[in-house]
Symmetry: none
Subunit: 143 residues, 2 copies
DNA sequence: TAAAAAGTGGGGAAAAGTGGGGGATTAATA
DNA sequence: TATTAATCCCCCACTTTTCCCCACTTTTTA
């Protein structure tokens, strides 16, 4: 579904454009939530529903699963896409991900990730070094 | 499917031609991804779908699988081939592979590899010398 | 050596990205 | 409750990018 890396700007009204070819998936809105590694996750309604069901099954007795549910559920916001294909970024999510003007959108198959450009570049420079480990992962998958 | 070594130029508009005899495989588009050893991989839609099925189910809770997905999925780009048989190279992939004007395309059976000419020549000069040693290591893989 | 095919370059129309004004709805205050 | 204030979002307009198409050059082939 979603793949690729895209550059966009967050404007003064906190509007963020969605790549044209992905807009059709968000006709009935989108869910933006706090993600991992300092980014945000954007889900379609359909994918979000799947995720919520899995979160509901986490054992409430475990502190870690309670914390994860709070991150994903309490962090989530239902947003609309305007006629120009943009969604409005809530203030608390903008702060959470440290977003400035220059934004990276990353396609991760069933979700889009929102990164501040600088944070993204830093993450990349670390993981690019580990590409050896990543290559090992390829073998595990039989690729 | 794909074999051989081909010379092409990346033009000022970041367009890269595909060898004529291979174009028929890319009628419905192509996927370019970050590869190993500083090159890029080009897959047909069909081959890509085989790969991506394995990636879709990785657990988002593990930092390593997130890094892996980001390399393979966010690193990939869905591209079209124009009437002249060229695809447009996204900026971030051009940077990743250090591409300049002179490009080498290499056929690796189920994928095409994209190399900057200088990187290719350097890689060749090392591996040509060590080809004996490299072959020795393949015993483990049953070749 | 002529004709055909492939590689390469560039102009221009169309689409996408971006910014901002203004009206309508909602909230706030006297 | 009337008036004011604030927010949201729709729409218009400008800028930038993309991509389609045509044309020229080089290479291949008959």
């Amino acid at each position: 579904m979603f793949i690729g890396e895209y550059n966009y700007n967050l404007d003064d009204k906190n509007r963020l454009a969605v790549p044209t070819k992905f807009r059709k998936f968000f006709n009935d809105g989108a869910i933006i939530t706090k993600g991992l590694d300092n980014c945000l996750f954007i889900y379609t309604k359909k994918e979000w529903d799947k995720l919520v069901k899995r979160l509901a099954d986490l054992p409430i007795s475990q502190a870690k699963s309670r914390a994860f549910s709070r991150l994903m559920l309490a962090g989530a916001m239902d947003v609309n896409v305007d006629k120009q294909g943009r969604m409005i970024m809530p203030d608390y999510l903008k702060k959470f991900a440290g977003l400035n003007k220059k934004i990276i959108l990353a396609g991760l198959y069933n979700r889009l990730e929102v990164w501040d450009e600088k944070v993204w570049n830093k993450y990349q420079s670390v993981t690019d070094k580990d590409s050896g480990d990543i290559a090992e992962g390829l073998v595990d998958l039989g690729i």
